[in-house]
């Protein structure tokens, strides 16, 4: 029996109400505040597009933060996808112990973020607890300041690859398992080795999954916040700020909530643009097999 429209509305109402109160209204408020000099404790005054004009300044903190987001997307983001693809391909070969590696590589995804941060502090700390620096000292080298603001983004590369590769590996593995084995058999009969099978069979048939992973990486990179916030002890600098940490700092530490709201609007527009482009990509011709 098909439920009546009234019944559908009744069941939808709680979710819609919650979404309206906790998402839509705050989002619309933020849009309104972006045109004001709102401090968070005093009445906002309308200042038109001033906040957005300030954002457009190429020497602004916002531009520096956006470039840091770009670094997160391009360097650890790309490296994560490549590593995940390689792991997935080798595990898909059903080599000995591949089941164990599947679990090992996915393990970082089940760790709470604070635990991940604490773990990597034990690796990178400049104090006696830092494993890498202990090794460097034992070898007679000066310890490195992995966690300083100036070096933090580079230090994040192995952390993000370690933390993210397992998730993408599972997505790639799922996609690989749906590729018919007959295609590989045909390739082998034509004399294709492992590399050629990967290059000419696996990779083209993973196109949709790769596109989806790329979109996840870009959106995740644009929204990146937590590890920088933890490693910088809530005080990132111009070298380490990304857009999300800068929004928080502006709104809550510098009491420029209006300016912070303007930044969040720009961030939203960027993410929306990426999503729309990705939807367009998904709608393109699909390979059927």
């Amino acid at each position: 029996m098909r439920p009546s429209r009234g019944m559908i509305a009744v069941f939808l109402l709680p979710a819609v109400a919650l979404y309206t109160v906790f998402v839509l209204i705050p989002a619309l408020s933020a849009f309104g505040y972006s045109f004001t000099d709102f401090t968070g404790v005093t009445r906002p005054r309308w200042i038109g597009l001033e906040n957005f004009t300030e954002l457009a300044d190429t020497g602004s903190d916002f531009t520096a933060a956006l470039l840091n987001n770009l670094f997160i997307i391009l360097v650890p983001g790309t490296a994560t996808l490549l590593v995940a693809l390689a792991f997935a391909f080798f595990i898909d070969q059903q080599l000995h112990g591949s089941r164990l590696f599947r679990v090992v590589f996915f393990f970082p995804n089940i760790l709470p973020l604070a635990a991940t941060a604490a773990l990597w502090i034990l690796v990178f700390s400049a104090t006696d607890i830092g494993a890498v620096n202990r090794v460097l000292r034992a070898m007679g080298f000066a310890p490195a300041q992995f966690m300083s603001s100036a070096n933090l983004l580079r230090s994040l590369v192995p952390i993000l690859v370690w933390g993210g590769a397992g998730f993408y590996m599972i997505l790639f593995l799922a996609a690989m398992s749906s590729i018919p084995s007959t295609l590989y058999e045909a390739a082998r009969m034509d004399g294709a080795g492992l590399w050629h099978q990967f290059r000419h069979v696996t990779l083209p048939l993973l196109r949709d999954t790769i596109a989806m992973c790329l979109i996840f990486t870009i959106i995740g990179g644009l929204k990146f916040f937590d590890l920088i916030w933890i490693f910088e002890k809530q005080h990132p600098t111009r070298d380490s700020h990304v857009v999300a940490t800068l929004i928080y700092s502006m709104a809550f530490n510098q009491y420029r909530s209006g300016y912070g709201a303007a930044m969040s609007i720009v961030q939203f527009v960027l993410i929306l643009a990426v999503t729309l482009v990705s939807l367009k990509l998904f709608r393109k011709e699909r390979l059927e097999y």
Partner: protein, 442 residues
């Protein structure tokens, strides 16, 4: 709980009998909500003071609560117009002062427990300047924060190092420490703002109070004048030559651990250091402090310090007048003496430290306070948070050698000019330099 109920019942009965009680406008007891930032000092002193006030004042109850995120919790309430009566936290007081959210405090009221004195008379000179706006005092400090160089007397005695009295002594002892294989200075590199205290100390020594005040008052050319450049050069020199080489990757606790574990001989920090590191300090550690030595003979010694832990009464609060009375009680000399005992820090009230047996570290700090011709503290972050952040960024470049001292000064000059010329940024009342500290030629 039972005692509360008993007291409440007593207050109600007395009120019904027409006895003296606080102005409530109703028959119930006055409830003062007191919101406090709950950090390293805890809430013990606030709790004891609140209960003492309840006992001293008929018909008043103080509802004390604390949280490390108290400011975030209060912001929406301030906007809605239902703030607590009193708050002691790091809310943007300058914005609240501008926005008319705070109650002007009547300092002409009699001081608690000090007959013949007004409340205003009890404070140390200058500690109320920061929060006085258009002739009204709008917040009261409950601590006197001072900036010093901490050292371990035992380590220094064992190694034969002497506390420097001159700049040449300072450089000599830093070299000796370095030769001994110990980093002269621990530095809280994850928070480059810790270098700002040292920089302003150097600026005062290089150019006197006038040079310091010029930077605070955003005077054109203040940051590119010779005292500022000299201070920046010395700051960079100290950082690159004497800071712990790993410091920029260390948090305040991590770097201060290097100090208490005697891997660094000194650390520049506020008076809160002892409390912050209490759990980790070895029992034979003999904490003491000194200040930066003079750079010129004609500049009198001044200590970098001032009122902190600001307490404010909200204008919109239901019982603002009673809250002001509670604040008067809270900052009485006897309560401030208890604060010193509790926190191991100093108080902004005259004579409060004289009533307490000070530990050696605090005694050394008190001597600096007594010896100083004046005290000064930077106001840039208080009035201009954006400029404060720029200074943090720029000083990080300076101490890591990423920019030359002249470039640091030019960047700060440009940032001050931008603030000066921005009509949207409300300007702070100028910092006054007492006539006796003005010099004919800089």
């Amino acid at each position: 709980m039972a005692r509360h109920g008993e007291r409440l019942l007593m207050a109600v009965l007395l009120a019904a009998a027409g006895c003296e009680k606080a102005q409530t406008g109703s028959n119930g007891p006055v409830l003062l909500e007191f919101a406090v930032f709950e950090g390293g000092y805890g809430l013990g002193w606030h709790e004891r003071a609140s209960r003492a006030y309840e006992e001293a004042t008929l018909g008043v109850r103080v509802s004390l609560w604390g949280s490390p995120r108290v400011s975030e919790k209060l912001r929406p309430r301030i906007l809605r117009g239902n703030p607590p009566e009193i708050a002691l936290c790091d809310l943007p007081i300058w914005l609240l002062m501008q926005g008319g959210k705070l109650r002007p405090l009547d300092l002409s009221r009699p001081a608690y427990g000090q007959p013949g004195k007004t409340w205003g008379d009890t404070f140390l000179p200058g500690v109320l300047d920061l929060t006085t706006y258009q002739g009204h005092c709008l917040a009261i400090p409950t601590e006197f924060g001072g900036w010093v160089i901490w050292y371990d007397q035992k380590l220094w005695r064992d190694r034969g190092w002497q506390v420097p009295r001159t700049w040449a002594d300072f450089e000599r002892v830093c070299q000796e420490i370095k030769r001994a294989g110990i980093a002269p200075f621990a530095f809280q590199g994850k928070y480059p703002s810790y270098a700002i205290g040292t920089f302003f100390g150097l600026l005062q020594r290089a150019g006197g109070l006038e040079a310091f005040a010029a930077t605070q008052n955003l005077e054109p050319g203040a940051w590119v004048a010779s005292p500022a450049i000299q201070a920046a050069r010395l700051m960079q020199d100290i950082a690159l030559s004497y800071f712990d080489p790993n410091c920029m990757a260390l948090s305040h606790i991590e770097s201060q651990m290097e100090f208490v574990n005697r891997r660094c001989a000194m650390v520049a920090c506020g008076l809160w250091l002892k409390h912050e590191m209490e759990q980790n300090t070895p029992p034979d550690f003999e904490l003491s402090c000194f200040d930066l030595p003079p750079l010129r003979d004609d500049v009198p010694y001044m200590w970098q310090g001032g009122g902190s832990h600001l307490c404010m009464v909200f204008r919109d609060a239901s019982h603002a007048e009673q809250a002001e009375d509670f604040l008067r009680f809270l900052t009485s000399r006897s309560n401030m003496a208890k604060w010193i005992e509790h926190s191991g820090s100093l108080a902004p009230v005259r004579g409060a430290a004289d009533d307490v047996a000070l530990p050696p570290d605090l005694k050394a700090a008190k001597e600096l306070m007594d010896r100083a011709a004046y005290s000064f503290q930077s106001r840039l972050s208080f009035f201009y948070p954006g400029l404060g952040q720029t200074m943090v960024d720029q000083i990080r470049f300076l101490i890591t050698g990423q920019c030359r001292p002249e470039a640091f000064c030019q960047a700060m000059e440009a940032a001050c000019q931008a603030v000066r010329e921005n009509p949207r940024i409300p300007k702070a009342p100028p910092m006054e330099v007492p006539a006796r500290f003005r010099r004919a030629s800089p």
